[in-house]
């Protein structure tokens, strides 16, 4: 091989090898090109690349600009810029070629010299749109999309520091999903980054396609319903997490960003907290914690009082409950547990149906059937109100995963309340506390915001008083302002 000044490791690659890798799949574009008496091959995956850009920025320059005497010179000239494309990567193996092709590159094979991948990704991808779940009134409206590169650009727009780092990896033997770990040099503890990298590298599965796959493999599939990774669809919230010294994780194909470590304090934070003044935000945050407690304990507490400790109910309320239950054929336990199950069913049906029909089903199920059941004497209004309050309080929680974990535990505590009254509810609550105390994410305890008793992690302090980053994350730079 003539010395062209360019190093190539893939000179032994042949057209047959590349074609064989994809077999007879219909979406592989393989084209032979004549160039200065040499035979070149261009490959691309239909739909992943833009056909017009392939013609304009690869095939046209090849036929017009490459006039060298040997195939090695052609290869070197193409790599140096005669084929004008912003990205031109030399491919050292057939596997690299395959990786480039499935990622929207066009690969040109120079037989005997090597292969070059040019980026001409198709423009058909979803643009950033307002967040669907984490909506705010005043905050930014750009939410993550399914394409990891768009997401990294959104993050860059919020954090323009050159110290922002994205460490890319490929996970999934068959899905070959691109995973990007985001962190800020000079803030994030590097040990956290290394640990996250090791966790991602250790994932050995066919496909990393669903959020649960990411969460279970990254967190080690702990036996808990509580989320150990915080997800967000908001780029600003993700960036705030990075600034706090946390690690971000972006997965190609998922319109979400993950933040680790996650503890209960982070999961109870809403993006709205930072868009309003600290007094209102603190009040709302206290209300949110009350909602958490009500959602978790109210059904169990009601069953316990109604079945065991009636003397603890204020008399007018007790009389009204007794009167309302006069003609109800079911026990309080059956009523409340049945209503909780009905509530879950309604919620499930609302999720699986199209939005318009889902809303109708919720309205019919919640209001019409509920009212009819009370009027027919099948359930008491008190039980319906208790379950409704618990359900609505569950919706107040800003993190859906946390709300779902609370729903699961709500059933357990209600069952314990039915079995042993307030004694059972207390035992259930203690078991939950023990369980949460044992959870950690990247060595940060789940209940860490409440461990020091300073502000119990509930208050939203004035930003100018928040001078230090969370010390539990061991950030490199502990101060975030003077």
């Amino acid at each position: 091989m003539q010395d062209t000044g360019m190093l190539s490791w893939g000179e032994s690659m042949t057209d047959g090898e590349i074609r064989e890798l994809f077999g007879d799949t219909e979406d592989l574009i393989a084209r032979e090109i004549r160039c200065g008496g040499f035979r070149l091959y261009a490959y691309a995956i239909d739909g992943m690349v833009s056909g017009s850009e392939m013609s304009e920025y690869i095939l046209k320059p090849i036929s017009e600009n490459l006039r060298e005497n040997t195939i090695e010179e052609l290869y070197a000239a193409a790599l140096r810029g005669a084929v004008y494309n912003s990205v031109a990567d030399a491919c050292d193996s057939v596997q690299t070629v395959a990786g480039k092709l499935v990622n929207g590159f066009c690969v040109v094979l120079f037989p005997g010299a090597g292969a070059i991948a040019f980026e001409i990704k198709s423009g058909t991808r979803r643009s950033p749109s307002p967040p669907e779940v984490e909506n705010t009134v005043k905050g930014p409206k750009d939410a993550f999309v399914e394409t990891v590169r768009i997401n990294t650009s959104l993050i860059r727009r919020h954090l323009r520091t050159p110290e922002l780092r994205f460490t890319g990896m490929t996970v999934g033997k068959r899905s070959m999903t691109h995973v990007s770990i985001a962190w800020i040099r000079g803030i994030t503890n590097h040990e956290l980054v290394t640990r996250m990298e090791n966790r991602v590298k250790s994932i050995d599965i066919d496909g990393l396609l669903s959020p649960s796959a990411v969460e279970e493999y990254i967190t080690g599939s702990r036996a808990t319903a509580f989320p150990l990774l915080q997800y967000t669809e908001r780029a600003d919230k993700f960036c705030q997490g990075l600034l706090d010294g946390r690690i971000g994780l972006l997965v190609d194909g998922l319109p979400l960003g993950y933040l680790a470590p996650a503890d209960l304090g982070y999961l109870m934070e809403s993006p709205e907290d930072r868009s309003r003044d600290y007094v209102s935000a603190t009040c709302v945050r206290i209300l949110r914690y009350c909602a958490l407690v009500l959602s978790l304990l109210l059904p169990g507490f009601y069953i316990a009082l109604a079945v065991f400790q009636q003397e603890m109910i204020p008399l007018p309320l007790l009389r009204s409950i007794i009167e309302s239950k006069e003609n109800v054929p079911f026990s309080t336990t059956l009523e409340v547990l049945g209503l909780l199950i009905a509530f879950e069913l309604l919620q499930e049906s609302g999720i699986h149906l199209p939005q318009a029909i889902g809303q109708s089903v919720s309205t019919i199920g919640g209001i019409v059937v509920g009212t009819a059941a009370v009027e027919a004497g099948l359930i008491s209004p008190a039980a319906l109100i208790v379950v409704s309050i618990a359900g609505v309080c569950g919706f107040v929680l800003p993190n859906r995963d946390l709300a779902e974990a609370i729903r699961v535990w709500r059933f357990g505590i209600a069952a314990l309340g039915a079995a042993a009254g307030l004694f059972g509810v207390t035992v259930g609550f203690l078991i939950l506390l023990i369980h949460l105390s044992g959870l950690t994410c990247l060595d940060v305890p789940y209940l860490s915001p409440f461990s020091e008793g300073k502000n119990f992690g509930i208050l939203r302090l004035r930003l100018k008083f928040r001078k230090f980053r969370n010390e539990k994350l061991h950030p490199v730079d502990k101060r975030n302002q003077k």
Partner: protein, 160 residues
């Protein structure tokens, strides 16, 4: 997994070692007014605004009889008023332990549904707790010409 087995064991323990008794609120028959007196045969007679009746040699016997014969699970914790006959005021110290301390007391000679309506509007204002703390006067519920009236009787001191 071991942790979940531990949780299940604790839950099982709670189910079987539960120290409290179960009565659904729907099965309760809440009492608002109790009328207690001694009969001519020197028996304790308890009447409730719900129309239930209990008779026995002692207060405990009468209560047991009331609970056994009532058309439901008699729940005395809801009792707001106790109308006690003059001949039964000696039972008041025993009633401190049976009824709520906040139950309002008056002396009277009948306890009917309309008595509840009257007492709700014109509260006697003296509770079992007041008497226990040494209050000397007790209101008297008087009925003349189908009308009720509350008057206070001084120097009252129930026997211990």
């Amino acid at each position: 997994m071991r942790r979940w087995i531990l949780y299940a064991l604790v839950m099982g323990l709670v189910l079987f070692v539960s120290p409290v008794e179960k009565t659904d609120v729907g099965e309760l028959k809440p009492v608002e007014l109790l009328y207690i007196r001694y009969t001519d045969e020197n028996k304790v007679r308890i009447e409730t605004d719900t129309g239930d009746l209990g008779v026995g040699e002692t207060l405990e016997d009468a209560l047991s009889d009331l609970k056994a014969t009532a058309s439901g699970n008699i729940f005395l914790d809801t009792a707001d008023y106790l109308v006690i006959h003059r001949n039964a005021v000696t039972l008041l110290p025993k009633l401190w332990n049976i009824l709520r301390p906040g139950t309002e007391v008056c002396i009277g000679e009948e306890g009917r549904e309309e008595t509840v309506d009257f007492l709700s509007a014109h509260k006697p204002g003296v509770t079992l707790n007041d008497i226990r703390s040494g209050r000397q006067t007790l209101p008297v519920l008087k009925r003349t010409e189908e009308r009720y009236r509350i008057e206070f009787e001084s120097n009252y001191r129930p026997a211990e």
